[in-house]
Amino acid sequence: MADVVAKQRKILVAVDESEESMYALSWCLKNVVSENYNDTVVLLYAKPIRSAYATLDGTGYFFSSEVVATMESYNKEMAGSDMAKAKKVCNDFGEVEVEKRVENGDARDVICRAAQELGPVVLVMGSHGYGLIKTYFQLYSF
């Protein structure tokens, strides 16, 4: 007698260092992940690439390669620790398949690209709840 294999589903969760994305992850584990399906949670972390910084008064600064290298290794460490935190939330929840992806670039593009590639059943992300002005500064001043 053939056993019915539970349908495989991918759930893409965008994580960063914020509390909001950890909350979104645990919400997702509680509400989206289901025993009726063979679910895989894919944790996606976007590492921003920064080589130039702009300040509010309009002048920009370019950093030397050593400073960039230090910042890169710091970012890598942050990604590692945030991923570990996210993985812990998943493990605490129980039996669920987890995959990790760390990509470089602007979070918005990275997330959309990954969603296109992986074809998950749902994309989960946290929301900072920024008002109009904070959003503007986030978007236009790196």
């Binding site: 919400w27 509400n31 989206v32 289901s34 009726n36 059943v121």
Partner: protein, 145 residues
């Protein structure tokens, strides 16, 4: 003593996208829905006409909305889920967010027309508005092209 059940609200109109969203939710979130209350919500847009016509037209609108919701309730029943119906008069995006807050909704599910940026600027987007203004988690279901 029964733990208070969470309420999941699905915003509906007569579009194919919102019906797709409902079916998607019934298929993929079956476990969550079976342990929550499911609320099917549709807004009746405010009509601006002369006072004489308005009552008739509003009444027609109400009947159309209720039949839409009854249809949605049947779709839920096919999946073994009981859906409750609710409707309010007002602009859809505001009515949905207000109802979600008043009824302490735990999850709001909406369909998306998938319009481009320019069409959105002219016609507006209920799902965009709700994602930014609702206080609860919002699930926007996109129809495959």
């Amino acid at each position: 003593m029964d733990k208070k059940k969470e309420v999941v609200m699905v915003g509906m109109d007569d579009s194919e996208c919102s019906h797709y969203a409902l079916r998607w939710a019934l298929q993929n979130l079956g476990q969550t829905l079976s342990r929550s209350h499911l609320l099917l919500f549709s807004a009746q847009p405010l009509l601006e006409f002369t006072v004489d016509l308005i009552n008739d037209l509003q009444e027609n609108q109400r009947k159309a909305t209720l039949s839409l919701l009854a249809n949605a309730k049947e779709i839920c029943a096919k999946h073994g889920i009981i859906g409750e119906m609710a409707t309010e008069v007002g602009e859809p995006k505001e009515a949905i967010c207000k109802a979600a807050e008043k009824l302490d909704i735990q999850l709001l599910i909406l369909g998306s027309h998938g319009r481009g940026a320019i069409q959105r600027a002219f016609l507006g987007s209920v799902s965009d508005y709700c994602v930014h203004n609702a206080k609860c988690p919002v699930l926007v279901v996109k129809r495959p092209a």
